[in-house]
């Protein structure tokens, strides 16, 4: 029973600030502190939300964005995972690739957009855009994870005459997996942020970002705010799920920290 109360407390604590903002926003709009022609009131936003729910465009676009993000995330993170492992395992490739990787990493993502449009005018360019951003955190975290494998554990493998391949699958991979998961969590959240940019830079594929962008042109600020709230909400849910997964798979590391 106690744990249920504590959970309820957590939810209330988390909802406290949003509730205050909502109330403040409501009163600011009704007493014209926020001019309604520039910034929509909560009532406008709710009615706008109802409108896009009814004509189906909200879930249509949200769905496109979510699928786009998942494609970019999977492409980027799987590639990133292999790059991270390779850099972590081979000192030669680490020396060879790390400098150029660090240089490329500095390029702001929007700068890739013109090049990506050359690659493809369709969905592929948007997915690649997300994938590039999704790749970095997985590379960095996986690399760190592999580098931080305890030498002690590798010695255990040596005593048992493990081959390199066996050491990799029995020691390096499981031991670095929690770090990879952290990378994946960051990567998914970056992907979700990038989808809006991708849809604005490389238009006409639908999606929540494109919806917001076109609404802005029609001065439907209420729908822009609907988009912002939806993005925040989905992003929060994604992060929450990834955190749970992280806990689940790195139970031994978390408990290790607590007990020592």
């Amino acid at each position: 029973m106690k744990s249920k109360n504590i959970q309820l407390m957590h939810v209330l604590e988390a909802a406290f600030l949003p509730a205050i903002i909502f109330v403040a926003w409501f009163f600011a709009s009704s007493y014209d502190v926020l001019p309604r022609n520039l910034f929509p009131s909560p009532v406008d936003v709710l009615s706008g939300f109802y409108e896009v729910l009814n004509d189906g465009s909200f879930f249509y676009n949200l769905n496109i964005s979510v699928i786009r993000v998942l494609k970019g995330f999977l492409l980027g993170s799987i590639t990133g995972f292999f790059i991270g492992i390779t850099l972590g395992v081979s000192r030669f490739l680490e020396k060879l690739i790390t400098p150029i990787f660090n240089a490329i990493r500095q390029v702001p993502l929007p700068a890739w957009a013109p090049l990506l449009v050359l690659v493809s005018l369709g969905e592929m360019s948007r997915v690649l855009f997300i994938a590039i951003g999704a790749c970095y955190p997985v590379v960095l975290n996986t690399f760190e994870g592999v580098k931080n494998v305890r030498h002690d554990y590798m010695e255990v493998g040596k005593v048992f005459k493990f081959s390199k391949v066996k050491s990799f699958f029995k020691i390096i991979l499981p031991s670095s997996f929690p770090a990879t998961l952290t990378g994946l969590r960051l990567s998914l959240s970056i992907s979700w942020m990038l989808v809006v940019a991708a849809e604005i830079f490389m238009t006409s594929g639908g999606g929540i970002g494109e919806m917001m962008w076109s609404c802005r042109e029609f001065s439907r600020m209420d729908l822009v705010v609907v988009g912002i709230i939806a993005i925040a909400f989905v992003g929060f849910a994604m992060n929450f799920t990834m955190r749970k997964l992280e806990r689940l798979f790195s139970f031994w590391r978390i408990t290790l920290k607590q007990s020592r």
Binding site: D152, E155, V156, K161, S175, W252, L256, S259
Partner: protein, 258 residues
């Protein structure tokens, strides 16, 4: 019948080189260990006893002299030598049974299962097969580590202060257990320790080492009958004898003539 585990360490010296300095860790160590013997190496920290053990197991190379196991020169680690480290080094992401199964090679799944079960029972961890290392106490973790090191039936088991981190009572209990395992497996054991009580309780021979560079100071045979009684006079005298090597014994007045 287990094959022999006779170890000969001949004129072994070891230096560690860092950029400018050279540290002489072991200097001309000679030691022979008979099959089935229990040897402890006692010395102050920094005397190179752990290095000697790591040389024997094959984790350190580049030394002068010879180390022979059953007459053959060692070349890197091998499954005929097991080691239990000071920190148990169980893999935290694996259960006890999977940790124990880790080193088994060339067996079918059914055989593997049987070996794991037998060794878990040998070290008294029955019922904890599915536990993770973080759920075990220090003593239980070392038991699991001992089981893991024995699965390939090594000829020699090397123990690097495996009980150092345990509380005094658990340690004494583990001495009994270790002696039982040693007898049941009829295996050669070489243990590094700085606990004189532990050394006298367990060893056939105590090797005393001095530090910087690590030298063999004295080999003291322990001819006491097993199981040994810590409260006996013989036991106390044996301890005294070892402590004398470290100038730590109590000096009795009648030893002096003025």
């Amino acid at each position: 019948m287990k094959s022999t585990g006779t170890l000969a360490v001949k004129n072994v010296s070891k230096k560690f080189k860092s950029q400018e300095t050279e540290i002489h860790v072991l200097d001309d160590i000679n030691l022979s260990v008979k099959s089935g013997e229990f040897i402890t190496i006692v010395g102050l920290s920094g005397c190179g006893k752990t290095t000697l053990l790591r040389l024997i197991v094959g984790l350190e190379s580049d030394y002068a002299g010879d180390i022979l196991l059953d007459g053959r020169k060692l070349n890197g680690p091998s499954l005929d030598r097991g080691i239990v480290f000071q920190d148990h080094r169980l893999f935290p992401w694996l259960t006890v049974e999977k940790n124990v199964a880790l080193g088994i090679v060339g067996k079918t799944d059914a055989e593997k299962k049987e070996i794991v079960q037998n060794h878990i029972e040998l070290v008294g961890l029955k019922g904890f097969e599915k536990s993770y290392p973080y759920q075990l106490s220090g003593g239980m973790s070392q038991r699991a580590a001992i089981a893991r090191s024995l699965v390939n039936n090594p000829k020699i088991l090397l123990l690097d202060e495996p009980l150092g981190a345990l509380d005094a009572l658990t340690r004494m209990y583990m001495h009994k257990e270790l002696e039982r395992i040693w007898k049941e497996e009829s295996i050669t054991m070489i243990m590094v320790t700085h606990d004189v009580d532990e050394a006298v309780y367990l060893s056939d021979k105590i090797v005393v080492m001095s530090a910087r560079p690590g030298k063999l100071q004295k080999i003291i045979p322990v001819p006491l009958a097993r199981p040994r009684d810590r409260a006996s006079i013989d036991f106390a005298q044996m301890k005294e004898k070892v402590l004398e090597e470290f100038m730590l014994h109590t000096e009795h007045n009648f030893n002096y003539s003025i």
